[in-house]
């Protein structure tokens, strides 16, 4: 017995010793304000989903950020240094990494994390430590309301969905709708909540609400119920992989009414998977590569040169996110967390590739999304 205890005591004390030794690590403080040539310099931390199932998001985000950093360096007005860390999409890792950025790297602001679930964990911590944090891909409700220091430049479902539903009603004179959503994913569930509210606000008659799960492959049961009800419009909160299959099956069952999707539905993959069946999908998006705007076209072409593919929404939002941080730093005049927070909150009508960006009193983005419709296998702007 004694032996066992001693054994354990050794392990425990070794463990503590190790932890304390680790604590003695780098803690050198203060990201020095104002580098050479009078430019404001600051370290910006990035928490991104770079390994695991969502690595594609992380890649687009870091590409967008790196491009923005390069351009900012060339412009020379603000000198930002990115510290990019991986969260693997896990809330606990996102939290550890945020602590690292705040305490070890001593960043002035943070961009990320990728998922809303991660932001729910990281946001309060950044807020308590007084570090401005900008979500570039969180669309769930209530994210900027976490605290004063929490911002986002990704348009939430609560803004995007009403815009697309409204456009659809205008175009098709819809009165009766059916709703479908994935109920086991935070993203699609948030989209559903926004759809339900939008339908109520716009006085639509809800015929039926059907649910499905991630990875489901057969939606005929739900769709045949919807078909019986004869809706004018189907509101469908799904990610593109499920959404595309739903559309394909719906069209083959003879349901030819337009679909209105959430942000997760907005992907060129839908056209690839569903083919002709994708025609008639309406989505609102902050990002449209074919937008008739010089800034957007410049960004698309430089991004293409650099990374060999077109930037998606996540790349564009991250790109603008870093520009917003840089704008904040420039206006703050020094790399101070509180000054930066105030400067970001005051940004009004910043011209980014997404459009004109401002923040409301919560720190939520205010901008007009573009409503797109798929016609003849192509995304087109709905005017």
């Amino acid at each position: 017995m004694k032996l066992n205890f001693r054994m354990f005591a050794t392990i425990a004390s070794l463990f503590v010793l190790f932890m304390l030794a680790a604590c003695g690590g780098s803690n050198d403080t203060a990201s020095d304000a104002s580098g050479e040539s009078g430019a404001v310099s600051g370290k910006i931390g990035v928490v991104s989903f770079m390994t695991g199932s969502g690595a594609a998001y992380g890649e687009a985000i870091t590409n967008g950020l790196e491009l923005a950093e390069k351009e900012l360096d060339e412009a020379g007005e603000v000198d930002v240094e990115l510290v990019i860390e991986d969260s693997a999409g896990e809330p606990d890792q996102a939290l550890s990494v945020t602590q690292k950025l705040i305490n070890s790297e001593d960043v002035v602001g943070i961009i990320g994390p990728t998922l809303s679930t991660e932001m729910e964990v990281v946001g309060p911590v950044a807020d308590q430590n007084g570090v401005p944090i900008m979500g570039t891909s969180n669309t769930a409700e209530g994210i900027p309301q976490i605290g004063e220091y929490v911002f986002r430049d990704s348009i939430p479902e609560t803004q995007a969905i009403p815009a697309s539903v409204e456009k659809a009603i205008e175009e098709y004179d819809a009165k009766k709708v059916a709703i479908m959503y994935g109920n086991d994913d935070v993203f699609t569930k948030a989209g559903y909540d926004a759809m339900k509210d939008a339908a109520e606000d716009l006085g639509l008659e809800e015929l039926t609400t059907q649910t499905f799960q991630i990875g489901q492959s057969d939606y005929k049961a739900q769709l045949s119920k919807i078909k019986q009800m004869e809706p004018d419009l189907i509101l469908c909160s799904a990610l593109y992989n499920e959404g595309a299959v739903i559309m394909k099956q719906a069209r083959s069952m003879g349901i030819d009414v337009p679909f209105v999707g959430g942000n997760g539905f907005n992907s060129p993959e839908v056209i690839e998977i569903a083919g002709d069946a994708a025609d008639g999908l309406i989505v609102a998006t902050p990002w449209f590569t074919k937008k008739d705007d010089q800034k957007v076209q410049d960004f698309v072409s430089t991004y293409k040169d650099e990374f060999g593919k077109e930037p998606d929404q996540f790349a564009a939002q991250a790109y603008d996110g870093l520009y917003l941080m840089a704008e904040g730093l420039k206006n703050a005049g020094e790399a101070d967390r509180d000054e930066l927070r105030d400067a970001i909150a005051e940004i009004d009508g910043f011209e980014g590739v997404l459009g004109d960006i401002s923040f409301d009193e919560d720190g939520d983005v205010v901008m007009d999304p573009t409503v797109l419709i798929i016609e003849d296998g192509e995304f087109k702007e709905m005017k």
Partner: protein, 321 residues
């Protein structure tokens, strides 16, 4: 001086290590009686959701919430443990995996109570609550030269460390007690154990319930450390991760769970410099490990070697597994 020494980042990682040790122990205890359970993520969810709902909706003190979570997980342990008695090996693993998924799907679907897939946010933080209590009696972290934020992490770390020390003491003592030997006997041969007068049903359910309670405790602590939980935290992926802690470290001894949880939590953190490749290394390590040392890093033999080196003679019969 203390203020400069304490970096919340390291304390945060250390806290996760301690929580993972508790999870590793939960697998160790059930494996001790030869039961392979993959339901830890489910029990963790029960513990986490119980305390999260109680503390956020009814302002119950954290201690009560956590204990309620542990108890409820224990009750579920008994409920699942008894019918699972007839199952062994992979069949039990599948049944418990099923339990974990049922819990998760239940949480996803009871939206009115658990907010479904959205998750519960704003769960009281362990460190903050303790600090608030201490401030009432006039304590100020400045006395120790610490910022409030450093203090909260330090106190959480110390609290978790105490809990883990108590648990490790308990289970390493239990191992060599009447109960622990009954577990080992059942693990070796159930029928032989029964013929020697060991109440197999009782001990199997006991070990399963202990595992469930430990997982529930870890879940409850996890909820109060992260202050946000969602069903996505408790998928079968998590269950497998927990199993890995114990299997990698060595499932025969308590030290194995401690080593496995510490090493596997620390590894991805220390490999951050090569971010894209870190999980590849993690994977390779697991494969190599299982090929060359299937019993885990630390096993009985290694423990004995440690003891012998200390010049102690091992007592006869204590290591009869």
């Amino acid at each position: 001086m203390l203020g400069e020494l304490i970096n919340p980042y390291y304390l945060q990682v250390a806290s996760f290590i301690l929580i993972n040790i508790i999870l590793g122990l939960s697998i160790y205890v059930t494996l001790a009686s030869g039961q392979l359970s993959l339901g830890s993520a489910g029990f963790m969810a029960v513990g986490a959701y119980t305390t999260a709902l109680l503390t956020t909706n009814f302002e119950v003190p954290l201690l009560v919430g956590i204990l309620a979570g542990v108890m409820l997980a224990g009750i579920f342990g008994i409920i699942v443990g008894i019918p699972s008695l007839r199952l062994r090996g992979v069949f039990l693993a599948i049944a418990t995996l099923g339990f974990g998924e049922i819990v998760r799907v239940f949480i996803v679907n009871t939206e009115s109570l658990t907010k479904g897939a959205i998750g519960i946010s704003g769960i009281p933080q362990l460190g903050r609550e303790i600090l608030d209590k201490l401030e009432v009696i006039g304590f100020d972290p400045e006395i120790l030269g610490l910022k409030a934020n450093q203090f909260t992490f330090l106190i959480v770390f110390i609290l978790l460390l105490i809990i883990v020390i108590v648990l490790v003491c308990f289970f390493s003592r239990q191992k060599n007690s009447r109960v622990g030997r009954a577990f080992s006997a059942i693990n070796m041969d159930e029928q032989a154990a029964a013929s020697m007068g060991i109440n197999v049903t009782y001990y199997k359910v006991l070990s399963f319930t202990q595992g469930a309670m430990l997982a529930g405790l870890a879940g409850a602590l996890y909820a109060h450390v992260l202050s946000y939980i969602s069903p996505a935290d408790f998928t079968y992926h998590k269950a497998v991760e927990i199993l890995t802690f114990s299997v990698f470290g060595g499932s025969e001894v308590v030290g194995g769970a401690i080593f496995g949880a510490t090493f596997l939590t620390l590894l991805p953190e220390t490999l951050r410099a090569i971010s894209e490749y870190r999980y590849m290394i993690y994977g390779i390590l697991l494969v190599v490990m299982m090929a060359y040392r299937p019993q885990g890093v630390i096993d009985e033999q290694m423990m004995r070697w440690f003891k012998r080196r200390k010049g102690r003679r091992q007592q006869h019969g204590t290591e009869n597994k």
